[in-house]
């Protein structure tokens, strides 16, 4: 878009970007390498950018000290259920707001949008009381139900609506002439076309659920119910101080899989989210 840059300019831009990269990339490197250092080397001076000695027992301790496999599964299945649930709820609602004429559509849309102003932090006290009365404290239900229907899903509905509004109507009209009902039109025509928007909804919903912290520590109390973010903070010694290398090993196990998936599919990730932002 701009004039060709001079070689000197190019070199300095690369240099600048490499320096700027340090705080983005170094922490991940430090996390992975420190997780295999023996505790004696963890605060060694000068800092060991590459481990001098290896202690792989940190990884077995991750699994010994807590039911880490169970906690991993908890986080994974909750995020999966929340993602699929949000995709269903928000694509249906988003489609209806964009396409279907029904009574009070505008009023209902405004009410739903109000949800954007009410993050779950605002309602956490009554939510706790409600789930307590329903006998759902120390279960995963609050972590599943609140995101699927609360503020994150409202944002998803908004994204889906903005997408469906821009979709040409001809295909759907042709299908109606052929006598297809609304649900079939939605399932067979509109939804397949909405894959890019659905993908970005899936990505940010998954990340939101995967990162939840306030809700788990409010609602969950037993270790086998914990999700990963909460579990990571529990690797502490008798005085409550963190056992750094074990914590970092658990953090590595938590962070790396998503990071690898991202690097493989980075184009879809980045463009999907950019798309969301433009339309939102």
């Amino acid at each position: 878009m701009k004039a060709e840059l001079s070689p000197r300019m190019k070199t300095s831009l690369y240099g600048l970007m490499c320096v700027l990269l340090i705080p983005f990339v170094f922490p991940t490197w430090w996390m992975v390498t420190s997780s295999v250092k023996p505790i004696s080397d963890i605060f060694a001076f000068p800092p060991q950018l590459v481990p001098q000695n290896y202690d792989w027992t940190t990884y077995s301790k991750v699994f010994e000290l807590q039911p880490f496999v169970q906690q991993y599964w908890n986080s994974a299945y909750i995020a999966a259920v929340v993602t699929i649930g949000t995709m269903i709820v928000s694509s249906m609602a988003g489609y209806a707001f964009a396409r279907i004429r029904f009574p009070f559509a505008n009023t209902i849309f405004m009410i739903v949008l109000l949800g954007l102003l009410i993050p779950s932090e605002v309602t956490i006290v009554p939510l706790f009381q409600m789930f307590l009365k329903a006998g759902m404290v120390n279960t995963h239900w609050p972590l599943i139900l609140v995101p699927i229907f609360g503020a994150p899903s409202v944002f998803a509905t908004f994204v889906m609506r903005q997408f469906f509004v821009t979709l040409p109507t001809e295909l759907e009209e042709a299908a109606r002439v052929d006598g297809l009902g609304r649900f079939k039109i939605f399932r067979k025509i509109a939804l397949p076309l909405a894959k890019p928007a659905l993908a970005s909804v899936a990505i940010f919903t998954f990340l939101h659920s995967w990162n939840l912290f306030l809700e788990p520590i409010v609602f969950l109390s037993s270790a086998e119910k914990f999700t990963l973010p909460q579990a990571l903070t529990q690797y502490t010694d008798a005085y409550g101080g963190p056992m750094w290398n074990i914590q970092l090993a658990a953090a590595t196990l938590t962070a790396l899989p998503v990071l690898i998936v991202f690097i493989i599919a980075q184009k879809q990730f980045v463009e999907g989210l950019a798309h969301t932002g433009l339309k939102g």
Binding site: L21, F24, P27, I100, I124, R176, T233, P242, L259
Partner: protein, 310 residues
Amino acid sequence: MVVAQDHAIPEGRSSSPFWTIARRDSLAGVLFIAPQLIGISIFVLIPLGLVFWYSLHEWNVLANTFTYTGAQNYRMLIEDTNLLEVLGATAIFSSGLVVFNLSLALLLAVLLNQKLAGITIFRTLFFSPVVVSLVAWTIVWGFLLQKNGGINGLLQVFGIEGPNWLREETTAMISVIVVQVFKNVGLNMILFLAALQGVPNELYEAARIDGAPRFKQFRRITLPLISPTILLTSIITIVGSLQVFAQIAVLTQGGPGLSTTVLVYYLYQQAFQFHFFGYGSTLSILLFVIVAVLTFAQWQMRKRIVFYES
């Protein structure tokens, strides 16, 4: 119930069925939005009503009493000297975060918008912390920021004695802001990059012919044209900054003193550590009002500041 006339149905048929296409469609619409509407009523709107109701009560969990006290919690809110400090910390945190986040995001987006080989690799790396588990990211930074941690170790290599980052008021606040910015700046960066790529090339060419320097081109062409994105990202970032909790809980637990106790963290402490559910609810109402006012104000600013909207 107002139902749109459907042209597909020939008029004047006396035995026209009740379930016309328009009526069926209207029913479909209601069914499509039903899960969202019911869900939002149960999990957002009713709780919002309840939180206001609770805020008018004194709630003693241990004695199991729940007494109506009217505006007493709100008087407590005004007289709570800690709250002033908490609001101050929240304001510093949010404004610091927004300024740092948006300017860094814009800088990175401008850099990534250059014609350079391998730029995708840089884009991927700058974005990567967004997908790293939030608490994992925070733990590593907490580890780096220890008195004898990696950052001070590196500083010491150059003969600089680093502070105890998380245990001194000023550096603790800077630390939580910086950790949060590097975690999420990639999102805003991508939104800015998309906006920059949407600026028509001809405008720059025209400016170049007129001999406008690069900086002037940026100020007079780029900034006005991406102003809708600046507004959008600043709303998202401010509202997001008011919800920051995990980073504070893991890095500083609100300390030292109250210096990093932001409103959400204070709310959590009052309600779930001290079991003041009534006062906690009053703080929730305050948080809601702040979010609503800021969003509304920024929405109004759109008319004044945003020069161009597609």
